[in-house]
């Protein structure tokens, strides 16, 4: 479903080159639920934005659903993003001027879908996240958990093959986070491929597979000293040392 081989992302200025991703390799199979973990600044989100075709990469290969995407133009990338990928963001990213119904409608509009079909899909998605009754509400009238559910409904409305979630519970309290996580698990059980970026080990543990990123590279935990250093750092922070 998603395969990156020797992928790199370099930010260049006149004086310095910064590698956000370096020789990055990952292979996510269809129907998998993969959690991408790692410390802040390790490149998790850069990986996710490249995976979602929101950013280009500097080198390597990226195959999405069998298509090599590096040479696609903006229109083609937008089309793939619209049809194959659903995004769930930490900050929900709902459009404040649009009500719940209209927010969920956005990706369907860019697909050129007819009004009746759009309405059917929107209501199905909202029912699935338990917010059909809030269709006319505006984001500001909803709790954080409800907003994230709307964002999930928006991601699901277009029936994407790949769901990319960036810290989906990062802005939620424990109870809401649990409910959103259960919803993602349910979606996964129904066959969706999910790649979730998180630095919460508890959430990561609920995924089928964990991929750890450190310094822009996927690492093997058992062998990489950087991981052990990271674990020690987390432990120090946890115990207030």
């Amino acid at each position: 479903m998603l395969k990156m081989t020797h992928l790199s992302k370099v930010y260049r200025t006149e004086v310095v080159e910064t590698y956000a991703l370096r020789d990055f390799n990952i292979d996510v199979k269809e129907g998998e639920f993969v959690a991408v973990t790692g410390p802040s600044g390790s490149g998790k989100t850069t990986f996710l934005t490249i995976a979602g075709l929101l950013e280009t990469f500097t080198g390597g290969e990226y195959h999405l659903d069998g298509v090599e995407v590096s040479h696609l133009n903006d229109n083609a990338r937008s089309k793939i993003r619209n049809e194959k990928i659903g995004f769930i963001f930490q900050a929900f990213n709902l459009i404040p001027d649009l009500n719940v119904f209209d927010n969920v409608e956005v990706p369907l509009r860019y697909r050129g879908m007819k009004a009746a079909e759009r309405k059917k899909r929107i209501m199905e998605s909202l029912e699935r996240v338990g917010l059909a009754s809030r269709a006319k509400h505006y984001p500001a009238e909803l709790s954080g958990g409800q907003q994230q559910r709307v964002a999930i409904a928006r991601a699901l409305a277009g029936s994407p093959r790949l769901l990319l979630a960036d810290e989906p519970t990062g802005n939620l309290d424990t109870q809401m986070a649990r409910s959103v996580m259960e919803l993602l698990e349910e979606i996964h059980r129904e066959g969706a491929t999910i790649v979730m970026v998180t630095h919460d080990p508890e959430l990561a543990a609920r995924a089928q597979r964990n991929v750890h990123v450190i310094d822009g590279q996927v690492v093997d935990l058992a062998e990489d000293p950087r991981f052990h250093a990271h674990v020690a750092q987390v432990a120090d922070a946890t115990h207030g040392r």
Binding site: T49, L54, E55, S78, N93, D97, P107, Y110, G112, R154
Partner: protein, 434 residues
């Protein structure tokens, strides 16, 4: 998608009413000022005879003596009686008319109506078909009536309404300067702007209400109006105008092809040489044959201040547009988070660009509407100015269309840069920063 973009544009404009109002007011002020001045310029510089003006020419000769001769200087603006009649009788054009302005005392037969003066034009038969003068009733007089100094008259619709209540008055007798004239025709409403065929009477003056054969006017010694330039020993005594060395008549010729125009100009040169050989002309041939529109330009019919005002108004529009660019840039960039989300959900750069341009178009249309109201107000103010063209300052259909095209076009242009900049936003950055 246009309907969707329109809906989004309206929502966006409603969201920040103050910013929207500022942009609309800026566009409205610029459009209002430009359209007011442009309308005045359009009215004043318009073609008085569309479709015909290219075939109408104003022959110029230089019959003066050698005193003060400067080679290449402009010939006389009018013609003498002798030259006018020579050119008229030669019939070298497809049509030709010799004319002068005048005043005639009208003595109505109608009881209770006092005598009054009316503006008149003394001319020859071709005047009417040559200038597309529209007849409500009757016909022009004939060349034979010109030659026989017939007591015939064509009157304007306004005079006809005053004397005969808008009924067909052809065949009626109209007394002017104690002479009975037979009305042969009544012109429909006709006011060519500018009053091109005789600019001595005011560039934008009303059309005359009385038209009499030039030969008849001379026979009856009707008083002519307009400018007169004399030289040498020529006097301007009214009894000797036919022989005087004074120019006081306008001569127009219709030439239906460029070849005919070239041939006519050559004819004017030959005529001047011939007159010089006869001793009438003393200067080397100096002829001109400007077309109607060239004649308007030569005489600077459009007042210079009107052009200047138009330039200034368009400069003001430019300033308003620059302000609008700034406001739009601020507005669009403030929405970068929303635009980033839309990109993530599948909107291409092109789609966002179209969405933002539709929003610019809506601002332009609103500004155009405001500008139209301001232009109408501006033209109302112009109509209250004491100038001869003031009453002509009205917005016609073409200017109405131009108002909206200019408003929308200018605003779309102003929206290009902000829309382009907003579309260049990297969605990933926006989504992260959210």
């Amino acid at each position: 998608m246009f309907g969707y973009y329109l809906d989004l544009a309206l929502r966006s404009l409603r969201r920040n009413k103050m910013l929207t109002a500022l942009m609309v007011v800026a566009i409205a002020l610029g459009i209002g000022a430009s359209m007011t001045t442009l309308t005045v310029l359009h009215v004043l510089s318009g073609d008085p005879l569309p479709g015909k003006s290219a075939t109408l020419f104003y022959p110029q000769l230089d019959p003066r003596d050698s005193d003060g001769y400067v080679p290449g200087k402009m010939p006389m603006e009018q013609v003498t009686w002798i030259d006018g009649m020579n050119l008229l009788k030669s019939k070298r054009g497809d049509r030709q008319a010799l004319m002068s302005g005048g005043d005639v005392p009208i003595q109505p037969d109608q009881s209770g109506m006092d005598p009054f003066f009316a503006d008149a034009r003394f001319t020859s038969a071709d005047f009417f078909p040559m200038f597309n003068a529209p007849f409500l009733y009757g016909r022009p007089w004939s060349e034979a009536e010109d030659n026989s100094k017939a007591r015939v008259v064509v009157i304007g619709r306004e005079l006809n309404a005053k004397l005969y209540g808008d009924k067909d008055s052809t065949g009626q007798v109209l007394r002017m300067q104690d002479t009975a004239f037979r009305i042969v025709g009544v012109l429909d409403d006709w006011r060519p702007n500018p009053h091109f065929y005789d600019l001595n009477m005011g560039n934008y003056s009303d059309s005359e209400q009385v038209f009499v054969p030039l030969s008849t006017s001379r026979d009856l010694r009707f008083e002519h109006n307009g400018s007169m330039n004399c030289w040498g020993k020529g006097g301007s005594d009214d009894d000797h105008l036919e022989t005087s060395t004074c120019v006081w008549l306008q001569f127009w010729v219709q030439l239906n092809s460029p070849a005919k125009a070239a041939a006519y100009e050559e004819y004017l040169t030959h005529y001047s040489q011939e007159q010089k050989a006869l001793g009438r002309f003393q200067r080397p041939p100096n002829v001109r044959l400007p077309s109607l529109m060239q004649w308007m330009d030569i005489n600077k019919v459009v007042p210079g201040d009107v052009r200047l005002q138009a330039f200034l108004a368009f400069g003001f529009l430019l300033v308003c547009l620059v302000n609008t660019v700034g406001l739009m840039l601020a507005k669009f960039m403030r929405r970068s988070a929303e635009l980033g989300v839309r990109r993530a959900l599948g909107a291409s750069r092109r789609a966002l660009f179209a969405q933002l341009l539709v929003e610019s178009g809506v601002i332009g249309l609103s500004g155009g509407l405001g500008g139209l109201l301001l232009a109408l107000l501006g033209l109302w103010l112009v109509r209250h100015q004491p100038s001869d063209y003031a009453q002509l300052a009205h917005l016609d259909a073409s200017m109405l269309l131009i108002t909206f095209l200019l408003a929308v076009g200018a605003t779309l242009l102003a929206g290009l840069l902000p829309a382009w900049r907003a579309c260049q936003i990297t969605p990933a950055l926006q989504l992260k920063s959210n």
